[in-house]
């Protein structure tokens, strides 16, 4: 709950800062401090230090799962600010508003992660998405940015409609919005309930860009300003998934047989479309967009498998995927040329950046020693026991092999090719590089000792 209060407060604060018209560097500092504070407060809450205990268990309940994920999100958000806050200035003039919106999004995260009522879920999702529409279109002069935001908005609103219809049907069948009372609901579910369930499944699938509801993703990620793409592709997606998982883990356990297979089917479709389409991409930004779809496919395995292992996997995946993707996007933002050729010969001139990028890519590809491997490992383990699990798992590892192919194209560009004359690499400040290496180190540590993170799930 600490995070909710602080985030709301800081969002308002940032808005006022813009009015006061103080220098950008100050604004940035405030934002970064704020985000750091969010992280610390969440960490403190884990140790039992609560600023204000909102006693509404039928609306929100902040359990360990929510706390750990919030800590991860705010931590990643902090690193994200450290790396990319300066780049936001390039997007447009409303510097501090961007921060404000991001803080508001964090408020949404809290709701999404700790809801016990479908109402809160709905509100949370909306609080997360509406600022994103704005951020996507933040680059006003840029047609691509406009187009992206409009597409995102239309489709987003559409899926909101679906979700509401789903919630309503569930409500009609159950007579309550609580996502807890549905636990262990026995007996044959009425068609109404099932229909509502499926509509919610679809709309959540849309939010986390699972095929065939993923079509907005590449365009939006591609069109939005890269800094914000990085935010959407990582934290937002992770949070949405966490909510997705929370909903289906709590709410519909008794209906599992009805939807589980579909979750499997969706994840297989997502893996195939995401990975296979990514192979052909030339622009790294768009490639990452597709790769994020592919990763969503893998996270979907967690929802397909459910259970404790899946929960841990979700946490691990949230951390590893966010860290790696934030790092890559942070570098990508500063590159002149977003195509693969733009990365040619990076290793020679910026060895440390290239080295950390390598670790990020390896992690995304799921190579051992990196957190990405363990995350995928957990997901596979969760899925393999489920119905038809083996087939799904085999497809997914084959697709993982495909993903290795396109991730390694970036590696090859960086290490094995010569820089083309016209492109010149940006100068990375030593601080930036250090943070980047910190991310890489975190990924490696989690890859060897995930226990240090996971043990916070249990007390």
């Amino acid at each position: 709950m600490n995070l909710l209060l602080l985030a709301a407060f800081w969002g308002v604060l940032m808005m006022f800062l813009s009015v006061l018209g103080i220098s950008r560097s100050r604004i940035r500092l405030v934002a970064q401090w704020g985000m750091g504070l969010l992280f610390l407060s969440t960490a403190a809450e884990m140790q039992g230090f609560v600023l204000y205990d909102l006693n509404a268990p039928e609306m929100l309940r902040v359990d360990r799962y929510a706390l750990v994920l919030l800590a991860i999100l705010s931590g990643c958000g902090f690193l994200y600010f450290l790396l990319s806050a300066t780049d936001m200035a390039k997007v447009g003039s409303d510097y501090s508003e961007y921060f404000a919106l991001i803080f508001f999004v964090f408020c949404g995260f809290v709701l999404v992660l700790s809801f016990t009522s479908l109402l809160m879920l709905f509100l949370g999702i909306e609080i997360v998405t509406i600022p994103l529409y704005i951020l996507t279109g933040a680059d006003k002069r840029n047609l691509k940015s406009n187009e992206a935001s409009l597409k995102y908005f239309l489709l987003g609103a559409f899926s909101t409609g679906l979700m509401l219809m789903g919630i309503t049907m569930v409500y009609g069948a159950r007579g309550s919005f609580s996502s807890m009372e549905l636990v262990g609901a026995s007996g044959i579910p009425t068609q109404l309930l099932l229909g509502g369930l499926f509509l919610m499944l679809f709309s959540m699938a849309f939010k986390v860009s699972v095929a065939p509801f993923h079509f907005w993703t590449p365009d939006v990620y591609d069109g939005a300003p890269t800094v914000f793409t990085s935010f959407m592709a990582t934290l937002v997606k992770v949070a949405a998934f966490a909510g997705f998982f929370r909903l289906f883990d709590h709410a519909f356990t008794s209906l599992t047989p009805a939807w589980q297979v579909w979750a499997g089917v969706l994840s297989v479709c997502t893996l195939m479309i995401g990975n296979i389409t990514a192979v052909f991409q030339q622009s790294v930004k768009r490639l990452l967009a597709y790769s994020s779809i592919a990763q969503a496919g893998f996270m979907m395995l967690g929802i397909y498998g459910l259970g404790g292992v899946a929960k841990e996997g979700m946490v691990l995946y949230a951390a590893s995927y966010s860290l790696a993707t934030i790092g890559i996007f942070a570098v990508l933002t500063r590159m002149q040329d977003y195509t693969l050729e733009g990365f040619n010969g990076l290793a020679k001139e910026r060895p440390w950046v290239a080295a950390s990028l390598t670790i990020f890519l390896l992690s995304l590809a799921g190579i051992p020693l990196t957190a990405g491997f363990l995350a995928k490992f957990y997901m596979l383990q969760a899925a393999v026991e489920a119905k038809y699990g083996l087939a799904v798992v085999i497809v997914s590892v084959l697709m993982a092999a495909v993903s290795v192919y396109y991730y390694f194209r970036i590696l090859q560009a960086m290490y094995f090719r010569e820089r083309s004359e016209e492109v010149s690499f940006p100068v990375f400040s030593s601080g930036f590089v250090r943070v980047l290496m910190l991310l890489a180190a975190l990924i490696l540590v989690m890859g060897v000792q995930p226990g240090w993170l996971l043990r916070y799930l249990y007390f």
Partner: protein, 503 residues
């Protein structure tokens, strides 16, 4: 303690070398590291031979139940010795060749060794998989940064091919892990599963593909010649000398004892594959003009024989001591050949590298007459090449001799066919080896070869070590056999599937 040392020395040493400021000190330091690992092995074999000094166990990833367990059984000791030897040889062999960024090169090389050592020693499936990949990643970078002109396409093929195999194995591991009562990855836990036939039949393939690709076995070998052709030779040396053995070791430790029924059901198919592979690879080698590719194919053929022998060991002994005795004979052959082939092929690569770097070509058709201009090279080459085709009094002879016995005793209706088929390999190997010798060393010299080559001390040292081992295990193989005998006996008893009948 020793086991941990064997993993840590190259790991840390690799790190040191990797971040070494001055290139000048790189080779001595990495040689020192490799040598110290070798010394550690030797110590482990002599003074601290006890199992407690060879086993290490620590909590690792509790949520998964994965532990950091190293257990140096005789197989592990034997192969980690090969790994240490391999890195020593590859450092020595590349002593005089200059590379850009030598720190990175040798650092990665040592890490590769660390990975392979983990594979050889780990008694925990998860750790095993870790090492399996840890050995692969440095190999990939080594190959793609320092390799030949077609390196990028070739190495990605190599990486993807092996990666697909290993992820399939990963699924198998996860599945078994799910079946274990205490949710552990320990070898013993897997071993105790005693799965029913219906499961083993398909589980087998998940593991087998990974190993078969690594070995590589006949239809899955196409990555190998390209890779060996493109990869810098010190790496090839480790790849073919040691890494390839990972596949066989994995079969020995993770396939036969755990999925023994599955193995037995498919053994005919597998031996058949292996034998076809022997003939197939040998035939290609006969028509091969590229020295490196030729060696690569010969290696495929020889590993094929080893695998065929290995899979001939499965079956029902009905507790008859005699059958087990013959399985013992065959398995001893496999153990011996694992080491011998490693040594021989490493020697071959050392020489191939020297020839290429000196005369600027790998094409047999562009060489010739070296016997007159480079007698020392000739002697080394002929000795090692003949050892490679298992001439008596060289180290490969006892190994292959015993392996043929194993095939002869395979519990398969086609064992005579298998025996003759693999035997024809002996003839074909003679053909291609002699052709190779004839075309490189005999005949008239040409502009390239008329001024011969001489070896630096380091190279001469490396080669003498190889030849020394060839003669040692050729004339007195009993030394090796005694070392492995007890383990082998326990092993053949453990993979006997008669116990399933009695259940």
């Amino acid at each position: 303690m020793i086991a941990l040392l064997l993993v840590l020395l190259p790991l840390i040493g690799g790190g040191l070398v990797f971040f070494l400021p001055r290139p000048a000190a790189v080779r001595p330091l990495s040689l020192l590291m490799a040598l110290s690992t070798l010394c550690a092995v030797v110590l482990g074999l002599t003074l601290y031979a006890g199992i407690d000094s060879w086993s290490f166990d620590a909590e690792w990833i509790q949520p998964l139940g994965a532990r950091f367990t190293l257990k140096g059984d005789v197989l592990g000791k034997w192969m980690s010795m090969l790994a240490a030897l391999g890195s020593v040889l590859s450092v020595l062999g590349s002593w005089n060749t200059d590379r850009k960024k030598p720190q990175r090169f040798y650092g990665l090389l040592l890490w590769m060794q660390a990975g392979m050592t983990i594979v050889f020693l780990s008694a925990d499936a998860f750790l095993f998989y870790f090492g399996w990949e840890l050995a692969l990643i440095p190999a990939y970078f080594l190959s793609s940064i320092w390799g030949g002109e077609r390196r990028i396409a070739v190495t990605i093929k190599f990486f993807l091919y092996t990666f697909v195999g290993s992820v399939l194995m990963l699924i198998g591991l996860i599945y078994l892990h799910g079946l274990t009562p205490d949710g552990s990855f320990q070898w013993q836990a897997f071993r105790n599963l005693e799965l029913e036939e219906s499961k083993q039949v398909w589980l087998f393939w998940l593991f087998f593909l990974a190993f078969a690709i690594k070995v590589p076995l006949f239809p899955f070998h196409t990555w190998q010649p390209d890779t060996y052709e493109q990869v810098p030779t010190p790496v090839t040396l480790l790849l073919s000398g040691v890494m390839v053995k990972m596949g066989v070791v994995a079969m020995i430790r993770w396939l036969l004892p755990i999925l023994d029924i599955g193995v037995f059901i498919w053994s005919d198919v597998l031996i058949c594959l292996a034998v076809v592979g022997i003939l197939y690879a040998s035939l290609i080698a006969i028509r091969q003009d590229d020295l490196k590719r030729l060696i690569a194919y010969s290696s495929i053929a020889h590993m094929g024989l080893t695998v065929a022998a290995l899979f001939s060991l499965t079956g029902f002994s009905n507790n008859s001591n005699v059958v087990l005795q013959y399985h013992l004979i065959g398995f001893q052959g496999v153990m011996l050949q694992l080491f011998s082939h490693g040594v021989n092929i490493m020697g071959m690569w050392l020489l191939a590298d020297r020839i290429e770097s000196r005369f600027g070509t790998r094409k047999l058709s562009e060489l010739g007459g070296l016997a007159r201009t480079a007698p020392t090279l000739t002697i080394f080459f002929v000795v090692i090449a003949l050892a490679n085709i298992a001439l008596p009094l060289t180290n490969a002879f006892p190994g292959e001799f015993l392996q043929f016995n194993a095939i002869f005793h395979a519990q398969s209706p086609y064992r005579i066919v298998f025996l003759i088929g693999s035997g024809l390999g002996v003839i074909l190997s003679a053909i291609y080896t002699l052709n190779m010798i004839r075309r490189i060393f005999y005949g008239e010299t040409n502009s390239a070869t008329e001024n011969g080559l001489r070896f630096s001390i380091a190279e001469a040292l490396a080669l003498s070590v190889v030849v020394g081992l060839i003669l040692l295990f050729g004339i007195y193989p009993q030394a090796a056999l005694d070392f492995t005998n007890e383990y082998a006996w326990e092993y053949v008893k453990s993979i006997d599937i008669t116990r399933f009948l009695t259940k």
